[in-house]
Each structure stands twice: as structure tokens, then as C-alpha cells.
Amino acid sequence: MDLSVINPILLIAALMSAATPILLAATGELVVERAGVLNLGVEGMMILGAICGFAIAVETGSPLTGFIAAALGGAVLSLLFAFLTQITLANQVASGLALTLFGLGLSALLGQGYVGIKPPRMADFNFGPLADIPVIGPILFSHDPILYFGLLLVAMVWAVLKFTRAGLVLRAVGENHDAAHALGYKVVRIRTLAIMFGGACAGMGGAYISLIRVPQWTEGMTAGVGWIALALVVFASWKPWRVLLGAYLFGGITQLQLNLQGAGVAIPVEYLAMSPYVITIIVLVVLSADKSAAPGSLGRTFHASH
């Protein structure tokens, strides 16, 4: 066993990258749930985003176009969920599960011609001389633009929810949709927009896996990240900064256990492999002990009856 092969600077840099798909998907889902909708289809939207982004990036040669296509793909798939739950008033849990299964199947179909291809690589964001600062440079200033976008997204979601009227209305709709309707807010429209935002974020999270993390396409490559993102939102008590913390914790321990495996630590691989899940859940359960209740209307079907 030789722990000196683990380079802390590379580890931290890598954990940020490992956390980004979860972060993107969870932030989107957080907005959806704050609007009072429980969309269990995150995994399906992620995998569809992964293949949409991959295919378009390969066809156009531009990773950025790929990410835009991934966001669109996720949003379009989420529209199906919005139609089922907001228009036909179907059960949200069942619709979300169906969305995941549908997304997995559809992505496998779309991805048939793309197995084994390498996508174009996304260049790192150029911070100029900042990237040459020792320690801080490689950790903070040597990543791709999407990773920074993810951080920006968390800050934006937090600020919008806390400081703007749009955020207040969104929270109000999630808290008590009947009261929001009585005050004249368009519950279905607001929720549909939130669902599409969640779909777009999940799609980008998926594309981050297929274009940057792995970079290649294999069937089912999101491998449960969408479910982790869902759990993260709950354990983070629907607070954006806690989602960031949880995502980094999860990414960090995933990265660390891979490094430990590489270093040949005498712990069975299975324990190491489960450790990110266990530790993330424990930490977030402890954090969520302060009673931050779920949005009041979460998962409830809204019907504007007379």
C-alpha cells in the first residue's frame, strides 16, 4: 500500500469534475421540487441528454453545441412528463418512473451508431496566467466551462429563489398550489416551466458524463447518477448550497475510493465502492436534522376545480 501515489491537488481537481453531473441534475430537480413537482425521471432525462449531446457533438464537431442539444433533449423529454402530470393529471411517481425507463430505452436506440466513437474534446476554460498559480491554479482554474457553469447555476438558483419575485412565486406554487391559484398565479404554467428547467439541467448533467467524464457512449452509462441526484435534493433539505456540498462530498469520496483502490489499500473493493453512497447519506441525514420541511404541495396533483 502506498498512499503517496495519491496527489491531493489532482484529487481535488478531479472531485469537482466527478461531482458536476450530479450537481447539474440535482440543481434542476431542486427547482422542480420547490415548484411542488416530484419528477423521478431524472435518470431518464440524463441518459437522453448524454446521447443527444454525444451525437450532436460528434456530428457538428462542437462540444458546446452538444451541450445545448443535451439540454434541449432533456427538456423535450421532460415535456412528456409535464404533459402527463400537469395536463392529464397522472400520478407523478408512476410517470417519473416511466420517464426513466423510457429514457433508458430511447437513448439505447438513438445511440446504436455511436458506440466506440471518441467525441470532440471540450477545451478548458482559459484563465490565462491564473492557471499557472501553484496549487490553486490546477484546482480552481483548469477546468472545462461546463463545470464553472454548474457552480454559477447553483448560485443563480439560490439567488433567484431567495431574492426575486419569480423565485417567491415558484416557492409559493410549491408550498400551496390552491392558495397560489386563488391569488391568480398560473400553477400549471409555472410548474411546466420548472419541469423543463429540470429536464434541461439533467440533460446537461448526462452530457457531461458522455462528453467530458468518460468521454464515449455506452448504453446505460449514467449508471444511477440520476437517482443519487434525486436523493441529494431530499437530504439537502431543498437548499441549493447543500446540494453543492452533497455533490462535492459524493464526488470527492468517489474519487478518493478510486485512488485508494489504485493505491492497493487492504479494504475489499466492495466496501470502497459503496463508501460514497454511505458517507454522503450519513452526512446529509445529519445536516437535514434541522426541520427544513419539504415543499407543502410536493408530489400532489393540482386541479383547478371551481
Partner: protein
């Protein structure tokens, strides 16, 4: 003087029912206008049209002589119409200021808004801290949030839908003071209620609706409550009565009953002691949320009690569950009809089976006797005049009042020795309410003891022998209802809960 708001021939039909049929009325600036009618008379639909939540099929509205047709509440608010809802349209997890901002067009920044809230709440004697979370407020305080939300927008017309149902008499008086101030400043108020004495005390004019039609107008000050009630119902009402009875032995006794509430936002019961004798009706009043549900649960057996707290005929029944208590003779009908008193998607026969199985011998060794259950259900329907096509219909398909008659009738017909009912006539029309009250009195005459928990003080005064009030989970010493004044009742209910009269 031109009318502030004039409605002309408003009609709104829903599938199977005409909610409003050519309704016309007009309100002058500064007028307090009452809208009277029973549940289902079309009051709510009418105000929803004024507030832009529902579009009329026919008819026109005019405000200050100009056409007025709000497409959504936003437009109505912009035109100067404010509404205080019957079921508060508030968001529990948000602060007072955020709640108020949601109901405003062009809400200012939260800090400026908080200042305004403090100012208005001072001016009108409605103390309210802007940064408190609404979920932690009492019912009276929540109503203040709604009222201040309206007042901040300088309304010309304020619609109030049953505003006093959650207030103590003292709080009602303070609310009326505020409303009179507003009216003196020129704000018109459309006041919906079925509490006739309140309307007589407050309103300048009244329009009476029945089955969606205007059936009369009157000046409430010059009309007796009885006349108004008969206009609402369309027939002569009989007052429940019973021969005077001599009270028998003690049937039910609570000794220092204290239990925490089973729900997070509930009220714990604190040291409740009371005893109830054969033939007696005990009325329990109090503002909603002061332990009514918990008391019912402790009596029905949903919430068990430690030894020595609940006694039926001298036997400790604290540890018994609902079915064992039913067999022992203690029956209960909770307030929430759908989901608590009745299973919404089950038929009336099945619902009759659910509570009647033990006392009516509807089951034998675990096998259910459905013909007998159907017979029992049909007997309830027959005796209590429940309007439904048959016992096979789902509980959900009945109107609120009809289902209420069914769930009360179901318990009454099981010949209870002690019956506990919570809000027995809530949402029931006046004649059916009189029938239910009469049934409760007959039960007492036949030697049962009855506990009526209600928010309707008139009802309690009408049927109870003794009255006690729940306040913060404590039960006051029961008083004989003879000579008990509304003032005294209000004090028993906890007074004004920190409100003060408006000082403008």
C-alpha cells in the same frame, strides 16, 4: 350616488347545476353589504366572478359606471377589489411579508414592505410581525395577514368570505371595529356569512341568495334574524326542543386528562377534568385548533390515555381502542367527514359497516353480513333524510351536508350511551341542521349523554345544558347555559388573543 359596483343578470352554470341565475345587486361606496345564503346557494361563485377567478356565462358588471370584466384576480386587484378568503390562501412555510408580497401587484422590496406592514397593522390595531413564519401563527393572526394584504392595496371593495368563523366574540368585535373604520373611509365591504346576528350588527344592506337566485333584499338592522333565516331557507324553521329531564348517574368522567398532540402542529390536552351525567348535553366551544380534534381523539379511543384519566360508567377505558369503546357504549363522530368520519371511495353500506359492525351485529366470527349492513345504511338514509340515489353510492358522491347527516345518523342509530360529536352541523343547511340537533336532543332525552364540540356558539346555546370552552388545550369549568352571556363565553374562549381596537 352612483354605485361602486353593479352586477346585472350574472349567470354561471356548471354541469348539472346553475350556481348563479341572473343575479343582480349593487354596492355603494362605503356600504357594508351582506351576502346571505346557505351552503350551495351560490355566494362563493358570485364573489369569485367579482374577483376574476370565474368567468360569468352571461350578465355584466360595472364599476363606477364603467364596464368591469376581470379576466384574472390580478385585474380585479388592479381595479381595487380585495378578497379575504374563507379558507385562508396563505403559504405556511413563507414569512408574513412574503405572503403579503405574493398578493400584491408591484410589491416593494421586502424591507420597505415590512415597514408598510408595521404601519398598517398599527393603524388598524392588528398587531403582526412581518418576519414571522405563517405556519406558526394562530388562526386569528393568519386572518390579519389576509386583511393587511388587502388593506395595503388600498381597496375600494373588500370581499370577506366568512371571516369570523375562526374568531372569538371579542376578536369579532375588534374586526368589526376595523371594518367600520374602513367603511367610514369609503371602502365598500361585501360581507359573506350565515351568522345572522353578526350581519345585523355590521351590515347596511343584505342580499339573500337561494339556489343561485336572489330571493330577497333587506335592511338587516330592521329585520329579525329569524326572518332572514327563513328567507334563506325558504320555509318556516322549527327550533329544536325537548322536555326538561332529570339527570341520572355519571356516565363519563375525565380526570386530569393530559396528552401531547399526535400531530406536529396540534394542541396538547392539558389537565382536562369533566364529568357527564345521563341525559345531559355538554357543549364545548372554542376557536378551532385549541384541542378540539385531540379531545375527540382521546374520547373516541384513537388516542389512548394512561390509567386513571378516562372512565366510562366507573370503568377505566383509557387503554381501550375505538372498537372496544364502541362496544362499551362510547361512540364518536369526528369533524372531518371525508377521510375521517367516512371513507370517501367506499359505498354508504360499507361505511355503515365500518362503525356499525360491532353494535349492530353486522359481523359474525369475522364474516360480514352485507344484507344487514345495507338494511342499516338504508335505515340511516330513511331516518335522517339523506338525499342519495341509494346505499350503494360512494360517500364521496354525497354533498357535504348530506354526508354529515349520514355520519351523524349512523352513530345516533347505534343507540350510544355516550355520543361525542365534533361540528355536527358544519356545512349543513338550516333545516337539516335543526333535524340533526333535534336528533341529538332526543338521544339525550332517552337517557344518553352527549358531548357536542362546535364552533357555532348559537348552536351550543340552543342545545346544551352546560357549556365549557377549550382554550390552548385546557377546558374551562362547565357553566350552566341558563343566563350565560356571549361576553362571558368569549372570555371563557380566551378573550381577544392580543388584538386591540383600531385607533385611526
Amino acid at each position: 350616488m352612483t354605485a361602486l359596483l353593479a352586477l346585472d343578470g350574472l349567470t354561471k352554470a356548471y354541469p348539472g347545476v346553475v350556481a348563479n341565475d341572473t343575479v343582480s345587486l349593487s354596492i355603494a361606496p362605503g356600504e357594508v353589504h351582506a351576502l346571505l345564503g346557505e351552503n350551495g346557494a351560490g355566494k362563493s361563485t358570485l364573489v369569485k366572478m367579482i374577483y376574476g377567478l370565474v368567468k360569468p356565462d352571461q350578465g355584466t358588471m360595472q364599476m363606477h359606471g364603467a364596464p368591469y370584466a376581470p379576466l384574472e384576480p390580478r385585474a380585479a386587484r388592479a381595479a381595487g377589489v380585495g378578497m379575504v378568503f374563507q379558507h385562508f390562501s396563505l403559504f405556511d412555510a413563507l414569512s408574513v411579508a412574503e405572503n403579503i408580497a405574493l398578493g400584491m401587484e408591484n410589491a416593494p422590496k421586502l424591507r420597505a414592505l415590512s415597514e408598510q406592514i408595521r404601519k398598517v397593522s398599527d393603524t388598524y390595531g392588528l398587531p403582526l410581525a412581518p418576519d414571522r413564519i405563517v405556519g406558526d401563527l394562530s388562526a386569528g393572526e393568519r386572518q390579519r395577514v389576509e386583511i393587511i394584504r388587502c388593506l395595503l392595496q388600498d381597496p375600494k371593495l373588500l370581499i370577506m368570505d366568512e371571516p369570523t368563523s375562526v374568531l372569538t366574540p371579542q376578536e369579532v368585535e375588534i374586526l368589526f371595529e376595523t371594518l367600520r373604520k374602513l367603511s367610514a373611509e369609503g371602502t365598500a365591504i361585501l360581507y359573506i356569512s350565515h351568522k345572522l346576528e353578526e350581519i345585523r350588527a355590521l351590515c347596511d344592506a343584505a342580499t339573500i341568495l337561494r339556489l343561485g337566485k336572489v330571493v330577497g333584499e333587506c335592511i338587516p338592522r330592521d329585520t329579525t334574524a329569524r326572518e332572514m333565516a327563513e328567507m334563506m331557507v325558504g320555509k318556516v324553521l322549527s327550533t329544536p326542543s325537548r322536555p326538561s329531564v332529570t339527570l341520572g348517574d355519571t356516565l363519563l368522567e375525565l380526570r386530569g386528562l393530559s396528552r401531547p398532540s399526535p400531530s406536529a402542529f396540534g394542541m396538547p390536552l392539558r389537565d382536562i377534568s369533566v364529568s357527564l351525567r345521563k341525559g345531559e348535553v355538554l357543549g364545548i366551544g372554542g376557536v378551532a385548533g385549541n384541542g378540539q380534534d385531540e379531545l375527540l381523539a382521546a374520547l373516541s379511543g384513537e388516542m389512548r390515555a394512561p390509567e386513571g384519566m378516562v372512565h366510562l360508567k366507573g370503568v377505566d377505558i383509557g387503554a381501550l381502542g375505538p372498537n372496544a369503546r364502541r362496544i362499551a357504549g362510547l361512540l364518536a363522530a369526528p369533524e372531518e367527514r371525508l377521510g375521517h368520519a367516512a371513507a370517501p371511495d367506499m359505498s354508504l353500506t360499507e361505511n355503515a359497516m365500518l362503525t356499525g359492525a360491532a353494535r349492530e351485529q353486522l359481523e359474525k366470527k369475522g364474516f360480514l353480513n352485507w344484507p344487514a349492513a345495507r338494511g342499516f345504511a338504508e335505515r340511516i338514509i330513511e331516518t335522517f333524510d339523506v338525499r342519495t340515489p341509494g346505499a350503494g353510492n360512494a360517500a364521496r358522491s354525497l354533498s357535504g351536508g348530506n354526508l354529515q347527516k349520514f355520519v351523524i345518523g349512523r352513530e345516533v342509530l347505534q343507540r350510544p350511551e355516550v355520543l361525542v360529536v365534533n361540528q355536527p352541523t358544519w356545512g349543513v343547511d338550516a333545516s337539516a341542521a335543526a333535524a340533526i340537533r333535534q336528533a341529538l336532543l332526543d338521544l339525550a332525552t332517552d337517557g344518553a349523554a352527549v358531548i357536542v364540540i362546535s364552533q357555532d356558539l348559537d348552536e351550543l346555546m340552543e342545545i346544551s345544558d352546560r357549556f365549557a370552552a377549550l382554550n390552548e388545550g385546557r377546558l374551562s369549568e362547565p357553566r350552566s347555559t341558563d343566563g350565560l352571556t356571549v361576553e362571558e363565553i368569549g372570555l371563557l374562549m380566551g378573550g381577544a388573543h392580543g388584538m386591540e381596537v383600531a385607533h385611526v
